[in-house]
Symmetry: D2
Amino acid sequence: MIVIIRPDATPAQLTNVVALIEQMGCQAHISRGERRTLVGIIGNGRPFDVERIERMPGVEKTMPVTRPFKRASREFHPDNSVVAVGDVVVGGSEITVIAGPCAVETEEQMSAIGRAVAESGAQMLRGGAYKPRTSPYSFQGLGEEGLKILARVRDETGLPIVTEVIQPDLVPLVTRYADVLQIGARNMQNFALLHAVGQAHRPVLLKRGMMSTVEELLMAAEYILSHGNDRVILCERGIRTFETYTRNTLDINAVPLLKQLTHLPVIVDPSHGTGMRDLVEPVSRAAIAAGADGLIVEVHHRPDEALSDGNQSLLPEQFVELCASVGAIAAAVGRLM
Amino acid sequence: MIVIIRPDATPAQLTNVVALIEQMGCQAHISRGERRTLVGIIGNGRPFDVERIERMPGVEKTMPVTRPFKRASREFHPDNSVVAVGDVVVGGSEITVIAGPCAVETEEQMSAIGRAVAESGAQMLRGGAYKPRTSPYSFQGLGEEGLKILARVRDETGLPIVTEVIQPDLVPLVTRYADVLQIGARNMQNFALLHAVGQAHRPVLLKRGMMSTVEELLMAAEYILSHGNDRVILCERGIRTFETYTRNTLDINAVPLLKQLTHLPVIVDPSHGTGMRDLVEPVSRAAIAAGADGLIVEVHHRPDEALSDGNQSLLPEQFVELCASVGAIAAAVGRLM
Amino acid sequence: MIVIIRPDATPAQLTNVVALIEQMGCQAHISRGERRTLVGIIGNGRPFDVERIERMPGVEKTMPVTRPFKRASREFHPDNSVVAVGDVVVGGSEITVIAGPCAVETEEQMSAIGRAVAESGAQMLRGGAYKPRTSPYSFQGLGEEGLKILARVRDETGLPIVTEVIQPDLVPLVTRYADVLQIGARNMQNFALLHAVGQAHRPVLLKRGMMSTVEELLMAAEYILSHGNDRVILCERGIRTFETYTRNTLDINAVPLLKQLTHLPVIVDPSHGTGMRDLVEPVSRAAIAAGADGLIVEVHHRPDEALSDGNQSLLPEQFVELCASVGAIAAAVGRLM
Amino acid sequence: MIVIIRPDATPAQLTNVVALIEQMGCQAHISRGERRTLVGIIGNGRPFDVERIERMPGVEKTMPVTRPFKRASREFHPDNSVVAVGDVVVGGSEITVIAGPCAVETEEQMSAIGRAVAESGAQMLRGGAYKPRTSPYSFQGLGEEGLKILARVRDETGLPIVTEVIQPDLVPLVTRYADVLQIGARNMQNFALLHAVGQAHRPVLLKRGMMSTVEELLMAAEYILSHGNDRVILCERGIRTFETYTRNTLDINAVPLLKQLTHLPVIVDPSHGTGMRDLVEPVSRAAIAAGADGLIVEVHHRPDEALSDGNQSLLPEQFVELCASVGAIAAAVGRLM
């Protein structure tokens, strides 16, 4: 951390800045320049409150030298973390594919899709029982009935279940049914919810907010890790930009960047990342080629009747093709699938 | 609503689209073009599920002609809504100024700031007891103790209290103390929370998400209105763009645009909208000049010691100047203050 | 400038960095931290090539302490610059209003609009003879014939002429007719063009690129200033964001920010900044309230027949109202109009 | 094209809209809805001026049904176009790799890099003789001397030369030396330049502007095609977003989207698209996996001494690895390299 002192700061203000730094258990190194004085902070390895220094009289601004996340950082944890979900291992040598519909609609639907994706090679099943929807007039999900359907289809197919939890007081209920708790993009900075899943005994699939930076995603992961849950899987699912042809802009750079910054597994959601069925397969290949540890893909056996996001769902036969095509890429980058 | 039919659609697919439209209680008008056929939907005034049509076989896409919000729309409610909070009226001829610190820290702090802003002409007092913070290592607010402090300072100053609620299960508690429930930018699409405040007996100050469109803001208001609470105040507080010099980019266009699209009152937060103390006063003037019904401004008697957002807080004496300067603009646009 | 040294840098690499800094005529101050070493550069007041240091072995990154623009900076030129165009002074106590159509179409049109805006209080006349258009199938402007029309209408109305120049080899021709050379948003980083107008004997109206930061705008001004032309007027005209309701997002923060960073005059284009006729007047008021030195507004006597940008053009009678309404704001901020 | 008529339009206004449409040689289909009337335009296959209709009295807005580009559209040209550059074919079954430094610095440098990349499998050599730089204090390129160096290294290595042209009056000169004319991202909407290269007898490599949509890129290509040059290669090179960790956000979705919308070849620039050396190889793999026809990669034998963009340049030995790694992906998607 470097502190830039204002050109018009008084000597007493500089003295106070140095005193506060030392009181925090750190060391201060002063460099006097032509127009400005800088104070370098030599930390003691523990996080401290930057804003307290930024607000001191005489301080122009601070500039971070190291990143604000610790537990999520590869700097302090060089080896890859792997997250086990039953027999499935996310973040190891094998690519993990999670597939299923956007929303749980009926047991018949989940069972048909679950059996289809299990046969094609998916290792986990996704499906939303609680849906965050921008319009109050849209389908909001089946709630606990949806969770029960998911549990029955898990028994039928053997696939672990990934499902979204949208408010803190539902965490205990969803935990009873789900194998992985998903935090959706709109909730990436719902800190009460991050706190709650940080205390849950289930792995968490944390989706990047559509308006969030890579650093904010890692800080959200830090919330979960700092509350005691170290089984976090990150998911790039596209960000909002000025481009309107596609629903979101999938940030492919984020995949190798995250793999460099953090030890946590990173998967990609090409369905929300593009919003267009025809782009899902090529972007899935790109994700694995860039180093992603897996995919989460929307599949629906009757996309034209799906109660949400049908435009971006693959048919089961398209999902078969995707698995073959992604498998070839996985082999080309030395991964199994 | 217009439905674009794919060039390769079969006659049966077109027939099915028309049948679904009529089954929804609407009328369908077919236009056959050189390359494509269009179906215009003549609605019956009630909202319907667009996505269901978009997913039908043979449909290329749909294009809205009218906007998806109803209760929030000025089209169906031409007169301005005013929201009364005790004796204060938001959205009438008078400009409403809400002021106070980012976070409640101590009773001494709130009392000092509350008395100062009351004297300068603020009509309501703001202060956060629950703080959504991006880092788990930052100050998270005093919780209920903060609410109690706010209530005591309301008694002392006579100013109604605006404070943020960050999770649904806290709505009853916050409602016991607060006069206005604030929904923060990060929670604008926390639908469980919108649902909860939609059933509360308090006005709601709804802040625009930093990467949400004007239409999404109006849809979030629609959530609250559709759950029974019609006292909603909208707040433009800056959006995230590529410009990094300022903390956010205050979307001044949104002020007259919202006043045109909706009957709800619109206020502006120049503190978060700029993130720089020196820009707060000029941007406050701009907001009122553009037609805003009020301001929500951060004021702290010791910004250098503030536990959050000190960089953008005004000193009480700067707030006095702001009120004078904004008052002159209010007069120039024919408003009282 | 601060140089961050990589944790794995060798002592020889650090020595080389220091040697290069001293060879550039600057001083180097070394601070050794727990994990990283920093080198502060104490400059000699002259600009130097940052990238050369960034590429040295052992360097992680550099962080600027001062801004990269010099001639445009208020730090080195504390007083406001004023730009005189004939009898009109931009950047002084008086607000300058430039008005006219997007494109020159006919002499009858320019004459009618010119006389109307002159009567309403505009001090300069705008109109494009060369139009940069995104589609090759749209009207591209009248070229030199348009310049001749502008010159005749200047003689008729006494209003100085502002018109766009779109390529370097046209600068001499446009200079023969125009009083102010406009650089359009798409050309803000057309460096050959900046070079050419930097050598011209005419004031330059430099529009911010729709994808450009405030700092890049100031660097573009620096190009013009560094080639010898110190009469530069900056223009905020809206940036591209995710919001699609309005054509652009007018960055109102940029107005007081630019006034703080630079001594150059700053005007605002509410027509392109909003793209919607109904928003032009409220946003014009906001611009002047925020401290802008003037406005450039599109006016057309028959907007429904305009060959470009008719949707955002005011009728002459609407422009009369705008001038009255903006005049009241100017008075409220202590400016004349 | 659909025209939405305002609710308050008069019958005469509607009649005039229909008359104008018919006068343009198209047919008009009227649909009367509950609140609004729509007019569908049945075109005659030729482009027409949309804005003229948008500005008519009584028109609320228009909505395009088909896209505004014609010559670039796959709808009218279903087969892939291939662009031959000497013996190299871009857009066929083989992946094309273009490599070289950002800027031409010396003959020794170009020769060393040219020989290295030729050996590793690059098919063309890049290098800038004219550099558009945001700061007037940075290296601006060697000019014609740089072109001569490029020509000599072409003779030495046999690699065709790709180099940027930055202003219209340089097109004849650059054409004398270069095999492919590059239009840089900042010039994507420099229409005078697009016009000039549209009349040149060289293939054009057109880079997407950093804040341009896919549709604007295709309209820029349309400019070149409509001026007679049908040898256009498109290049995705990253867009500007709120994410600041990487220099740009490479829009991987754009690759399969462009391949679907247009018949022109599409290549990717992972060097500018990421701005970080460590991300170049994984993102190159992603690009080919997504269906790109080639890559343009920055390689420098001494990146720490490069006069521009050294941070994102690969060493020749890293480029060898990239080629091997990309070759495996090419094979996995059935392409040669």
